[in-house]
């Protein structure tokens, strides 16, 4: 019996694996329709928004994509310009939406005249928060894909691992960063603020609400002390006591985390969270279910909470209670030309941007747009030297999505995005806090002070809100 069994069961196993794969494929088709439904739901709700808040005519998606290029409708046929990016992609942490949106923008540019007739070829490398993989991804982009510019990097560790490598080769990276080195080195400039300065913004807003204590909690990932240093400095400057926590993710006991934070903050205090959307959602939902969300004066959150998924999952429990620092112009209820172009490109070319409208794809849009603008100024050949000189030369460029204009420049450190917005969940959407404008991150954070000393505050970008 033992002799035949293996053969029989090999067949069975093969069959089972075929079934399993088949099941996966079947599931794939069913879920692509379901996962697109929240994304599809977003434009529908935002087209309902103009009635309440946005003054401009025309709902999302009505704009023409041809505005992305110089020669509408003419496909670029010249020698391609190679650009590349490295993005984290692992279960629970997936930043490929940024690269995919940048790709969508480049596709749009290529279909509308390219950059001086040259199409952009974009190579996307992913990594699983693995230092060795991140280092070899960079080499693959340079040696294998022959890239002349790096645009769109978004990774928990990439800046730490590769900044020396980019420096040695003369690359000036345009990215959306997370690691400390994304803001403290000469060769990286981020369009986002990252965990520290966005948490700064949230804490600053809490202080403006006159809270008497702050409990700041973040996920236990590399660089927690670096991140906490910002909020601590801001709170200290305002004489508000702050208590900092770290929590291991994924959280299994969100109830106790919520209780701990609410107790620490106290009746007139505020809780500020710095987590990925699913983890932040766990804590906020736990607070709502325990009915303790009103036991503190306010809740704050860094940028990741700025997603409609979170707003709709929370229902009305946190309306005017939760305030989220948003690094870019919130997509809901904003109908500027830039926003309409973004929505149109997303619709026409962004089929693999799985999260749809949201801050991640906005980052990709801004980064790609900055790159194209820089590339169009290059005279002669597109080499590493000429392209990166153009990146570095970007100065006071309105991105249409940042409070301030974007400047790269020749500095030992870069925090080009140091003013942003506050949003709050309102009927399942994240809308700008009524009456609030741009929030400048305080120079009480020594890093911000150092940067402002070097480069000054960026001039305001009046196109970003369209008002």
């Amino acid at each position: 019996m033992k002799e035949n069994a293996p053969r029989r069961w090999r067949l069975a196993a093969a069959l089972a694996s075929v079934l399993a794969v088949g099941g996966v494929l079947a599931g794939c088709s069913s879920s692509s329709s379901s996962s697109s439904s929240p994304a599809g739901g977003a434009p529908a709700t935002s087209s309902g928004a103009p009635a309440t808040s946005a003054p401009a005519a025309g709902g999302g998606g009505s704009s023409d994509t041809s505005a992305c290029g110089s020669k509408p409708g003419v496909a670029a046929t010249g020698t391609p310009i190679n650009l590349g990016t490295i993005n984290t992609q692992q279960p629970g942490t997936d930043f490929t939406d940024i690269a995919n949106m940048a790709q969508a923008y480049f596709t749009c540019v290529n279909a509308n005249g390219g950059v001086n007739g040259h199409p952009i070829k974009y190579s996307i490398q992913t990594e699983k928060t693995d230092p060795a993989q991140i280092a070899s991804d960079a080499k693959q982009l340079v040696q294998g894909n022959h890239v002349v510019g790096i645009v769109g990097n978004t990774s928990i560790l990439e800046c730490t691992i590769n900044h020396k490598y980019w420096e040695s080769l003369g690359f000036y990276v345009i990215d959306s960063g997370i690691a400390p080195e994304c803001w403290s080195t000469p060769n990286t400039a981020a369009v986002n603020m990252g965990p520290r300065y966005s948490s700064d913004g949230a804490v600053q807003y809490m202080i403006s609400l006159k809270v008497d204590k702050i409990a700041f909690d973040q996920s236990n990932v590399p660089g927690t002390d670096y991140i906490a240093a910002g909020p601590k400095a801001i709170a200290a400057a305002a004489n508000v006591p702050i208590q900092t926590f770290t929590t291991n993710v994924p959280i299994q006991s969100a109830n106790s985390v919520a209780l701990q934070l609410v107790q620490a903050a106290g009746k007139n205090g505020a809780v500020v969270l710095n987590f990925t959307p699913p983890e932040a959602l766990k804590i906020l939902q736990a607070a709502a279910k325990l009915h303790i969300q009103n036991n503190v004066k306010a809740w704050g959150c860094s940028t990741p909470c700025d997603t409609d998924f979170l707003a709709s999952a929370l229902g009305t429990a946190f309306d005017n209670k939760l305030f989220v620092n948003a690094e870019l112009t919130p997509a809901d209820g904003t109908n500027t030309p830039t926003m309409n172009l973004y929505r149109a490109i997303l619709k026409q070319y962004g089929s693999n941007v799985s999260g749809g409208i949201g801050s991640f794809s906005q980052f990709g849009f801004v980064e790609a747009r900055l790159a194209v603008q820089a590339l169009s100024t290059v005279q002669g050949d597109y080499t590493v030297a000429s392209v990166n000189a153009a990146f570095k030369a970007l100065k006071d460029v309105p991105t249409g999505m940042n409070c301030g204009k974007f400047t790269y420049g020749d500095y030992p450190m870069h925090i080009p995005n140091n003013a942003d917005y506050m949003v709050t969940p309102t009927k399942g959407q994240m809308l700008i806090v009524p009456g609030s404008g741009c929030l400048q991150i305080s120079t009480a954070d020594p890093q911000i002070a150092q940067y402002v000393n070097l480069a000054g505050r960026a001039p305001a970008d009046t196109t970003s809100l369209g008002s």
Binding site: A13, D94, S253, S256, P278, H291
Partner: protein, 298 residues
């Protein structure tokens, strides 16, 4: 050191967490006793069921339809696994059977991340009507879902104990989990009993998945690997005693949450299930009982 009034809410939340661990811990033990397989894919099956329910509900299906699909998905998938992989592994060591279910866990985990990506900051949640009501203890709200979770743990503990002991199907399951061949020679319809055990196991997994998705989070990674923490309770119950597993789960939840407000220990609180399980295992192995008994691989 927090004061007593500050600790009180953590007792309530600790019991709720214990209820979560109990639900999957007791589930694991029930399955182990009925099928002889430590079904480590328990969490993954429930997670996938809950995600399917989420997709159906957000596509416009009524809630109850989603819940039924979730529970049925657990049952059917587990039954399929049992039918395909049960017999070829029947004579093998319990360890090999457990590792095989890790294979299923990997398949489901990969599939879930592929189908319900977290890119673009997608956060999902599932909400049961029992979330809306509840009562208040120690200044915090206890939802009916939490009560339901704990209640299901109690029902499972009492119900499955009685079922396995007093019904003929339960007796057959226990016999089969012990020795399949001998049970077959006694005239028990092994295949049918086995199918019933697997299907029941899967239904339980789906049900637990639905509740845990509400109580913990609707997140593939969290729910899949929640099994590791719940396993601690099952191990303290020596994969055999359902009441001990239930009690152990409550203790783990309580200790974990009571450590949360204690500044010196709060960073290490997530070690609770592992440390308690290790201590229990080692203490029991010192007594030289069942723990070190393991069937030789033929």
């Amino acid at each position: 050191m927090p004061s007593w009034s500050e600790l009180q809410p953590f007792i309530v939340s600790g019991l709720a967490l214990g209820g979560v661990y109990a639900l999957s811990g007791v589930g694991l033990v029930v399955l182990y006793r009925a099928t002889g397989v430590l079904y480590l894919a328990f969490g993954a099956v429930g997670a996938m069921g809950a995600l399917i329910a989420y997709s159906l509900i957000s596509a416009g299906a009524p809630g109850w339809a989603g819940w039924i699909v979730c529970v049925l998905f657990g049952g059917v998938l587990t039954l399929a696994y049992g039918v395909v992989f049960g017999p070829p592994l029947a004579g093998r060591d319990p360890l090999v059977k457990a590792v095989a279910t890790l294979g299923l866990t990997l398949v489901l985990f990969g599939a879930m991340d592929l189908l319900w990506t977290s890119s673009g900051g997608q956060a999902r949640s599932i909400s049961l009507p029992t979330d809306n009501g509840g009562f208040s203890i120690a200044q915090i709200q206890v939802t009916w879902t939490q009560v339901l979770g704990l209640g299901l743990g109690v029902v499972l503990t009492v119900g499955t104990g009685a079922f396995l002991r007093y019904t003929s199907l339960g007796t057959a399951m226990r016999a089969m989990a012990n020795d399949r061949e001998i049970t077959a020679t006694l005239g028990v319809p092994v295949r049918r009993v086995e199918a019933a055990a697997w299907f029941g196991a899967g239904v339980l997994g789906g049900l637990a998945g639905l509740l845990l998705a509400d109580l913990v989070a609707l997140d593939a990674t969290t729910l899949t690997f929640l099994v590791i923490s719940s396993l601690a309770a099952a191990l303290i119950g020596q994969l055999r005693s359902i009441p001990v597993t239930f009690a152990a789960a409550l203790v783990i939840g309580l200790v974990h949450d009571l450590l949360t407000p204690i500044t010196q220990l709060t960073d290490y609180r997530d070690m609770t299930p592992f440390v308690l399980a290790a201590i229990a295992l080692l203490w029991v192995s010192r007594q030289g009982t069942v723990m070190s008994r393991s069937r030789e691989e033929a």
